[in-house]
């Protein structure tokens, strides 16, 4: 709920700054390793929108899988953990490059 409230606050702030009267859509990117439970968030986002510029909005949630970059050869790949061998060179030594984010990517608004 706290995250939904913050998303709504950010969206409303940006929408008002753009002179919008309604927000139709928002896009979120949520990493699988972000600690955010997407279904609960979706429900909470409907609730927090009621009575605001956001009411009735659609939220597109793109789930980002944990993505690793091999320290040996630079290959990036989706995996389950740091122990997964690199699909290109089979080395086991990677850094996480995506999958823990929580980002408000974009909104779609009506200005009239």
């Amino acid at each position: 709920m706290g995250i939904a409230l913050e998303v709504a606050r950010l969206v409303e702030e940006e929408a008002r700054r753009a002179g919008a009267v309604r927000v139709g859509r928002a896009g979120l990117r949520v990493g699988r390793w972000s600690g955010v439970e997407v279904e609960s968030l979706r429900f909470a986002l409907e609730v927090v929108a009621e009575g605001t510029l956001l009411e009735g909005w659609t939220v597109d949630v793109e789930i980002v899988e944990p993505t690793f970059r091999c320290r040996e050869c630079g290959e990036t790949y989706v995996g389950e953990g740091y122990l997964d061998p690199c699909p290109r060179c089979a080395a086991r030594g990677a850094e996480l490059v995506a999958g823990d984010e929580l980002t408000l990517a974009r909104i779609e608004v009506e200005d009239r």
């Binding site: 995250i3 955010v36 389950e80 990517a105």
Partner: protein, 223 residues
Amino acid sequence: MTEIPLEQRVLARNDAVADANRELFRQAGAYAVNLISSPGAGKTTLLEATLGRLAGRARVAVVEGDVQTENDADRVAATGVPVEAIVTGGACHLDAAMVRRAFRRLDERLDGPLDLLIIENVGNLVCPSSYDLGEDEKVALVSVTEGEDKPLKYPSTFHTADLVVISKIDLAEAVGFDRAAARAAITAVAPRAAVVEVSARTGEGIADLLGRLLPVAAASGRG
């Protein structure tokens, strides 16, 4: 409809307060630790077992988070360490603003600089990991009774942990704890985390825990 690209980190506002907290803690000389675990893993019991040993070695204070009651804060207070309670009333995690307010209240009562600030988070392995509190390190606590694959189920907490503490190690045999499986699970999501096994009841591993925590605090220029 007009599309407006934003690419805004949702928790940027929390993180800005967290960075301000970092400065507050730095000014107090404190090395700050964010202690996270599921409810019942043994955070408060570990503090009760550990804080007494720090008397004379390090100046410690605790910020204690719970949804309801100040029971844990009372237990910590009984060790003689200054403690400030945060009762969230509903939030399942601490955030930087709550910790800032609590630390300011605590700071008024402190009569000198601190070496170590321990923030005991609300018992929860999901939400707390998202909220930077301004800590220097995150410590994830997991007990032998929770299953060896806990880190794989809750990667958001473990992959951000600098130190993983396995608690209730005195029960390992009774529950058939598979140490190798537990270590493998931790390595899969937190390959760079240090790991210490402890028993608050028997005292096993506590010296190792302090041996890991205090030098790191000292090396940071604080503590």
